[in-house]
């Protein structure tokens, strides 16, 4: 039988979860080439909401948790097609063209479009965890340091209780129904930007050459089907959601504990007025939950 049993109410446990949830900050940026175009992305995510349920089987479930994409900067760089003046036959003959005019081509600018995806939400559709205890030896602790000195130096060993997710599933980034519009808006914006210094008639001419913007987007990016599906597949291929799932799981399971106890535990910490501190070694920390509370048990002394 354990020497000490600690209990934390479900309500307090929820506060612990919220405290951790609000400290998650995930960001990542990278670029990758996709043949005729290049994708650069930069994302930043935080978590919001989430109802905590403690189960009698020792598991913790979080429902309604959301990943908020504070910034989801995706830019697609590509080369604007050239259009040419001339190239047609000036002197046709029955045997073919005797003189073809030289072509004068304009275009070929490399441009980037930046569809605005900021503020999208992805539901965390499955978050189920149990509790795991870990003994942590601070790597910053100097060798040979006594427990009292380590406590004073802020580098004591610790017992930690982590929320250890069995699985974290986040729904795909879903701009369905708007993805195509986002790309069209972004393409229109970049074309207006590129053509900005040109006179209005020249802008109209280049837009006439480009033709309907949806068709132009399909041509530039080699899209065979609809733009919505293509863009969602592209976001999926960037593994943004999979990376976020891993990051969230690692955050809870390895980086930030729900709670931690220094070991040995300073029952009577050292102070100038307390020249004889009392430290109790903790052993065999275990933690679980039931529907009412979190329960942690620990042995005291060199058991």
């Amino acid at each position: 039988m354990s020497h000490v049993t600690l209990a934390v109410s479900a309500a307090t446990f929820k506060h612990l979860f919220v405290f951790l949830r609000d400290r998650i900050s995930y960001s990542k940026s990278d670029s990758t080439s996709w043949g005729p175009f290049t994708v650069n992305y930069s994302v930043a995510v935080h978590l919001a909401d989430g109802d905590v349920t403690l189960n009698d089987d020792g598991t913790v479930e979080i429902a309604g948790l959301k990943a908020i994409w504070d910034s989801l900067g995706v830019s697609l760089s590509f080369t604007l097609p050239q259009w040419c003046v001339g190239g047609w036959c000036a002197v046709p003959t029955p045997w073919g063209c005797a003189v073809r005019l030289p072509e004068l081509c304009v275009g070929g600018d490399v441009v980037s479009i930046h569809p605005n995806l900021d503020g999208l939400e992805s539901k965390v559709t499955d978050f189920k965890a149990d509790l795991a205890t870990v003994y942590f030896t601070d790597p910053a602790r100097a060798p040979g340091l006594t427990d009292v000195a380590a406590e004073q130096a802020g580098t004591p060993n610790k017992w930690q209780i982590f929320l250890h997710p069995d699985r974290v599933l986040i729904e795909p980034i879903d701009p369905i129904g708007t993805a195509g519009n986002l790309l069209v808006e972004a393409m229109n914006a970049v074309i207006d930007d590129v053509l900005g210094p040109l006179p209005d008639w020249a802008k109209s001419l280049v837009k006439d050459i480009i033709g309907p913007i949806e068709g132009f987007i399909k041509t530039v990016f080699g899209i065979a089907d609809d733009i919505d599906t293509w863009f969602q597949n592209l976001l999926g291929d960037l593994n943004l959601v999979a990376d976020l799932e891993t990051a969230v799981a690692q955050y809870f399971a390895q980086q930030y504990p729900l709670h931690e106890f220094p070991d040995p535990y300073p029952m009577l910490p050292w102070e100038p007025a307390t020249p004889l501190p009392v430290f109790i070694p903790l052993r065999n920390l275990a933690a679980t939950v039931n529907s009412a509370e979190m329960v942690a048990t620990v042995d005291v002394g060199n058991v």
Partner: protein, 214 residues
Amino acid sequence: MNSLLGHPIFSLSGADSTALTMLGAIVHPVDEPGVYGGTIVAASGAQRDFTLVVDANDVARNAAIDLAGARPPGGGCSCDASAETYRMGPGHVTFHVGSGVDRYHVRLGRRDATDAEVFDSRLLCDGDRFAATLLRPGRYRATDLEHHHRATVTVRRLGARDRALLREPVRVSLGGRGFSKHEFEVISLQGLLIEIGAKAAIRIEPERFEDDDR
């Protein structure tokens, strides 16, 4: 660099056979074998010479000469690296402007005992062709400065179904009695080819742009 940004083609409007720009080109027949000396004169004052060798045994039937100075990458002629020399068989030489906003004319003469001038692009002659590309939609006036013949050219905005039409120029002839049509229409970007049947100098200049109406 052919970047859309600041491309000089957008600063041009109209076309003039006496002062060639990127929107105009002249195709001139040269049937007599021989060595020809040419002089390219820019409105800015720059001038340069070239040699055109027409060799009956040369299989190439045309040469393209960029009046703005860029040498063609092979193809219809061969160019001497040290001197600007173009070689071809009896056929046609094309004078065009590949870059910039300058305006050019060119003179061509025999380089033999006669030293006779055989061509001055400011005065087109029978068998020449003047190729123009008009970009900005609107109404233009085409004038034969030599005989004061006129025609109206309407440049229509490029439509979604017009792309196939761009492959072929609108062909018009100009002889001693004037243009073969008094009014004709081209699509923005579409070529306009005027086949010359008598001495002529052609200027196509805007009368009213479509966007002036807005």
